[in-house]
């Protein structure tokens, strides 16, 4: 095998690089302005209420955090499972993982009621809380993946790469288990309270993270005028197909389990049949766009060599994944909690027994999109400063 050379990402002309970065900067500035507007006025200017307490920013944040863990797939395969084809992509895999997590955490923190008290979250831990565990898992992820990147880039510490790779692999599994468990341990609501949430989030991370990886890899190589071979891309595509199928399986298992449990028939009916926008998001967004279209694009012989099909499949996985998290987070809250089994709520001073509506507002969306821009900015700057991308990835 010929020696692999890594080089900083120069994008043809400086203008191309800096204009791209400037565009991301504008998106981030708008997002920060939106966060200031929401924080300054209070959350009543958002679509959130005392019934739907986690809104669109949480969907973006969870989506990015889950994808961050999955973006490390390629590095893990390269250094832990010994996949030589994936090894040259390990550095970018680590960089993207850090970027996505930073973007997700920025959105999460800026949506807190008191973001100024972040220091309290960093110094005061309730070790019974999955959320507190996640704070440790998220910060630890930065540290471990940072060291992992160091062992990949600096030859003097390369001998530790496999060991650190193992640590990073286990840490990322723990991280997405923790994110899934945020919902999996909530006994109050019928949509949650299911241990399957943890492994489902792990497999969702594999799928979304790889889709993010593929689409940004293609973009970076176009941006930097570099060669990207079909063979390696086909391998990544096939792996994505397996992950999309696995997410579909877990979706099936989750819903069938709920259908078996009589008390959960209400939430299943809501999501699958008469939940309005959530039902549409589930069938059109999550299942059709997120599962059926990518599986068709990936496995149809007609698109075997098509790079556009791979890119389109990855984008479809991301759109479907976003809808999936929207249905879990918002749909799960919109369905009323059953406080009084066997009784119908005739009147309530606090919307008991009612399906709650949630309409996201522009500032919430701006903050969420800024999270993606933060991830991409970190990738663009990181790839320019460090030797992350191989000079060529031709077959």
């Amino acid at each position: 095998m010929s020696k692999m050379y890594y080089r900083e990402l120069y994008c043809g002309t400086p203008a191309r690089y800096w204009s791209g970065l400037a565009l991301l900067g504008v998106i981030i500035a708008i997002g920060l302005g939106a966060a200031y507007y929401m924080e300054h006025n209070g959350h009543w200017v958002t679509g959130m209420s005392n019934q739907i307490v986690w809104g669109l920013p949480h969907v973006f944040a969870i989506f990015l955090i889950v994808a961050a863990s999955g973006a490390l797939n390629v590095a893990s395969i390269g250094s832990v499972f010994g996949g030589p084809l994936y090894k040259p992509l390990g550095r970018y895999s680590g960089l993207l993982a850090i970027g996505l997590l930073a973007g997700g955490l920025m959105v999460l923190v800026l949506d807190l009621g008191r973001p100024d008290r972040l220091i309290v979250a960093m110094t005061e831990y309730n070790f019974k809380s999955i959320f507190a565990w996640n704070v440790i898992l998220y910060t630890g992820f930065f540290a471990i993946v940072g060291i992992y990147l160091w062992t990949m880039i600096d030859r003097s510490v390369n001998k530790y790469n496999r060991t650190v790779g193992f640590a990073a692999f286990f840490w990322r599994i723990a991280l997405t288990t923790g994110t899934g468990s945020i919902f999996g341990f909530l006994v109050a609501r019928e949509a949650y309270d299911a241990a399957i949430m943890a492994p489902m989030f792990v497999i969702m991370s594999f799928s979304y993270g790889l889709a993010f990886f593929i689409i940004t890899l293609i973009a970076a190589y176009i941006w930097g005028d570099r060669e990207l071979g079909d063979f390696r891309l086909t391998k990544l595509k096939n792996l994505l197909g397996v992950f999309v199928g696995a997410v579909f399986y877990f979706t099936l298992a989750y819903n069938l389990t709920n259908l078996y449990i009589t008390q959960h028939h209400g939430i299943e009916r809501f999501i699958l049949l008469d939940g309005g926008v959530y039902t549409q998001m589930f069938w059109i967004g999550q299942i059709f766009i997120g599962s059926i279209i990518p599986l068709f694009l990936i496995y149809s012989p007609a698109f075997e060599k098509s790079r556009w099909a791979i890119a389109a499949a990855s984008v479809a996985v991301l759109i479907g994944g976003f809808f999936q998290i929207y249905v879990i987070v918002i749909g799960g809250q919109a369905y009323p909690m059953n406080l009084f089994p066997g009784k119908e709520v005739v009147e309530s001073g606090f919307y008991d027994g009612q399906v709650m509506s949630y309409v996201p507002t522009l500032p919430e969306a701006a903050l969420g999109v800024a999270g993606i821009a933060v991830a991409l900015t970190m990738v663009a700057v990181g790839a320019r400063v460090f030797k992350v991308f191989p000079e060529t990835l031709e077959d």
Partner: protein, 250 residues
């Protein structure tokens, strides 16, 4: 120019390192000091483990159309609406129910159930949600970061998030924008030795006496005697949270 110019300037590195360390210490220290202060405050609070404060609500006595308890709670704690019911704070709410099988109608009030094993306390990342030794579940507004995880975890929808800046607050209940809050079981009254909540008082004044507050641990208290002689229920007893608020005739 000195021939050391191409060497790293170690003094500058030391200075930058020192500045980072100092900034870190200055950032973390207030949190640590506040934490130490709040822990000592808790230890010196008036709560007594011998008591467990609770409530008994008689659904048969809760009168249709009456909002005396809700109004009294709002006045006592300075809760004001902003004309946006979905985001306004609600500590106590009336609920009218109809049995799907028999058609029998009930009315009751719902509030924080002051669980023995409160899910809000379990999930709160910063220990802002806490249970006093006398069973009253509260939120430390200085420690609440406004993550709303407790609201996701509460099976009773008992908590409200404060969506806007507040003015003209009641001294009985200091509150804050971006924090979560809920029924305190009139803890300020309890700590002052007034063994009657605002809602109970208002309900009695209206002549309904549907709410009974007292010490569940004291066998001679009226609430204990009533609970011993009648068949009360807990809302969502299947969760085994052992609520401090019980219901009669539900």
């Amino acid at each position: 120019m000195s021939n050391k110019c191409d060497q790293p300037n170690m003094d500058r590195r030391k200075m930058i390192g020192g500045a980072i360390a100092a900034t870190g210490a200055m950032t973390i220290a207030p949190g640590v000091i506040l934490h130490a202060a709040s822990v000592s405050d808790e230890a010196s609070s008036g709560a007594d483990a011998k008591h467990r404060w609770g409530m008994l609500i008689d659904s048969n006595k809760c009168a249709d159309g009456c909002s005396a308890c809700v109004d009294a709670c709002n006045t006592e704690h300075g809760l004001k609406g902003h004309g946006r019911p979905a985001t306004d704070a609600v500590w106590i709410r009336p609920v009218k129910l109809k049995d799907k099988q028999t058609g029998r109608e009930n009315r009751l009030v719902m509030m924080c159930q002051h669980c023995e094993h409160p899910p809000c306390v379990d999930v709160c990342p910063t220990n802002a949600s806490f249970k006093r030794v006398d069973g009253i579940v509260l939120v430390d507004r200085h420690r609440c970061i406004g993550c709303r995880y407790c609201m996701m975890a509460c099976p009773y929808k008992a908590r409200s998030f404060i969506h806007e800046a507040l003015t003209e607050q009641s001294v009985n209940a200091p509150r804050g924008k971006g924090c979560v809050e809920s029924c305190t079981l009139c803890v300020h009254r309890v700590d002052d030795g007034v063994m009657q909540t605002a809602c109970q008082e208002a309900c009695a004044e209206e002549g309904h006496a549907a709410i009974l507050f007292g010490d569940l641990n004291d066998p001679n208290s009226e609430i204990s005697k009533t609970l011993k002689s009648t068949n009360s229920v807990q809302i969502r007893a299947d969760l085994e949270l052992n609520t401090g608020v019980r219901y009669l005739n539900l």
